[in-house]
């Protein structure tokens, strides 16, 4: 685990989680999901959290995004202890198509959260168009989400998160329901955007290859209740390629290590 105690290092931590525990229900229905979980995210880093389906990944992200309050432990974002949604965070939801509003055009969907930030209409629309273009949807702002394919809707959801200009992007299995090719395209798109914008990304997935391919650091969560069982620095650098990176011996090694970790319980 990468717990750093020096104050200098702590300032670069855009997100820190210490001893977080979370459960649903009480009494007979008590269902512990997360147990004593630690997590460190450094600014500009791409962190993947990988864990099997149902382990509590969405629950973890809901805690981080301030939608749920954990029973124990602390979460700090940009140095503030989190007690509700933090302005430095944006989330791309697991069921992204449902998070888009069908009564708004894609431009309106992307621009809408900016209205709450107090931006003027022209500025909002400009930011929306800019970010729609960044995800490869230039000129599609007048379309409605339901006129778009799943992959395009996911791009809209990503554009919305980018336009919000948060420091940290939380992504919950963002590519789980698109076909393999679209998935690869979106993965590369997210990598490219991350490098261009310098945004910090915390991505949750059950796909080991995806976690490794994207991340600087892979955090493996497993067991019930879930806790961090391994942290792997991938060290693939900035230039990644769907074929070459995945053929890297270090990739195979890390992959085996994660599979081993996930198998144990």
């Amino acid at each position: 685990m990468t717990i750093q105690d020096s104050p200098a290092a702590a300032t670069t931590h855009v997100m820190q989680v210490r001893g977080m525990s979370m459960s649903y229900g009480t009494g007979a229905a008590f269902n512990p999901i997360l147990q004593d979980l630690d997590l460190d995210v450094v600014a500009g880093e791409f962190v993947s959290i990988v864990g099997p389906s149902g382990v509590g990944k969405t629950t973890l992200l809901r805690c981080l995004s301030g939608l749920l309050t954990p029973q124990a432990g602390t979460i700090t974002v940009s140095g503030d202890e989190v007690h509700g949604p933090h302005p430095d965070l944006a989330v791309v939801f697991q069921d992204y198509s449902r998070s888009l509003m069908p009564w708004m055009t894609t431009r309106e969907n992307v621009a809408f959260p900016l209205q709450g930030k107090g931006l003027g209409k022209a500025e909002r629309n400009a930011l929306a168009d800019e970010n729609l273009a960044a995800v490869g949807l230039a000129g599609q702002g007048d379309k409605y989400p339901w006129e778009m394919s799943g992959g395009m809707q996911q791009r809209v959801a990503i554009a919305r998160a980018l336009a919000y200009q948060a420091k940290v992007l939380l992504m919950d299995e963002p590519f789980a329901s698109v076909d393999a090719q679209t998935r690869f395209d979106l993965e590369d798109l997210v990598l490219k955007l991350q490098h261009e914008l310098g945004v910090t990304i915390l991505l949750v997935t059950h796909d080991i290859d995806e976690a490794l391919y994207l991340a600087d650091k892979v955090v493996v969560i497993a067991e019930k209740p879930a806790t961090v069982v391994d942290v792997i620095e991938t060290g693939f650098g900035e230039d990644r390629d769907q074929l070459a990176t995945k053929a890297d011996p270090r990739f195979a090694e890390a992959r085996a290590r994660i599979m081993h970790r996930l198998k144990k319980d």
Binding site: R62, L67, P85, P87, R98, S99, M101, W103, P113, G116
Partner: protein, 312 residues
């Protein structure tokens, strides 16, 4: 009405919104298509959804819709004309006599003035019901504890037959236009309130989460998220409220009134002017029909996204 209470948990007012529809609420539950809270929210609307199914598959054009919904009326009118032409029954005059009476009283202003009076009551009453019903429904739909507190009150009032209250309200508040509008508003309020609550409960949970995480301010959230999301249900509520309002409008003019379509019907009936009585009833029907046609047009504009996305 009573059957709709079966699947609901006691705390959920909204589930039974369309209990009052008797099939008029053809608004299908969007929530049922979209999972999560849908199962709960759509419970009371099963019959409405089934009726609407063919309509949603292929949304007809406005003209097509008009033709579709008028041809049978034309047939009925022709049959009425032919079959009543030789009527000797005093209480069933020929359609020709009825239309003549209608024409006379329309041109001399007797009935036109009454219709105007009635319609202004209806519109004001309905507008009050929409504003209060939607406003309160949005709040009750969002605030769970408040909804549970007022739930019994809502159930009590919605079960009272609205027309039965008319003499009481008018007796209490007098015979002016105000009490009539108030009565109409009161009657129309309940289906709109219940449907609004239902619509709010059907808002996609992910959209709620999105609004929280992206810190959308409450007023903006209500205006741009909850209201549009609940709009299909709200419109269904208004559609249900419209005929209720028309009924109460007529009934309210039958008590100590000297104006309006209800008065015209009652007055002509009391003086044995049977064709006039029929003419008044016919006019109410025509007005109601025209209003519902207008309503469909307004609805299609207002809910374009809903029909377009649902048709997919």
């Amino acid at each position: 009405m009573t059957s709709a209470t079966a699947p609901a948990s006691p705390g959920d007012v909204g589930t039974q919104a369309n209990g009052t529809t008797s099939g008029t609420g053809s608004q299908p539950s969007r929530a049922s298509r979209r999972g999560a809270s849908g199962g709960r929210a759509s419970g009371g609307r099963a019959s409405g959804g089934r009726q609407a199914a063919p309509r949603r598959k292929k949304p007809p054009t406005a003209a097509g819709q008009l033709l579709q919904s008028t041809w049978l009326i034309v047939v009925v009118l022709v049959l009425w004309w032919v079959l009543s032409a030789r009527s000797t029954n005093f209480f069933i005059p020929s359609l020709q006599q009825i239309l003549e009476a209608l024409g006379t009283d329309l041109t001399n202003g007797v009935i036109a003035g009454g219709a105007l009076y009635s319609l202004s009551n209806l519109f004001v009453g309905l507008a009050i019901a929409v504003v209060l019903g939607v406003g309160l429904g949005l709040v009750l739909g969002e605030v769970g504890w408040l909804r549970r507190v007022v739930d019994p009150v809502i159930h009590f009032f919605r079960c009272i037959p609205q027309a039965a209250l008319v003499p009481l309200i008018i007796g209490t508040f007098g015979i002016g236009q105000g009490p009539k509008m108030g009565t109409i508003a009161f009657a129309c309020f309940w289906p709109i309130l219940l449907n609004t609550i239902d619509g709010v409960l059907g808002v996609e949970p992910t959209v709620r989460h999105f609004s929280k995480v992206y810190r959308v301010p409450k007023p903006l959230y209500f205006r741009r998220v909850v209201l549009p999301a609940a709009l299909p249900q709200i419109v269904a509520g208004v559609r249900v409220a419209l005929p209720i309002g028309i009924t109460v409008m007529v009934v309210s003019e039958m008590f100590a009134s000297t104006e309006g379509l209800g008065f015209y019907i009652l007055n002509s009936s009391a003086t044995f002017q049977v064709p006039q009585t029929w003419a008044g009833a016919l006019l109410v029907g025509v007005v109601g029909y025209l209003l519902s046609v207008l309503f469909v047009f307004a609805e299609r504009r207002l809910l374009r996204w809903y029909y377009a996305s649902g048709a997919k």
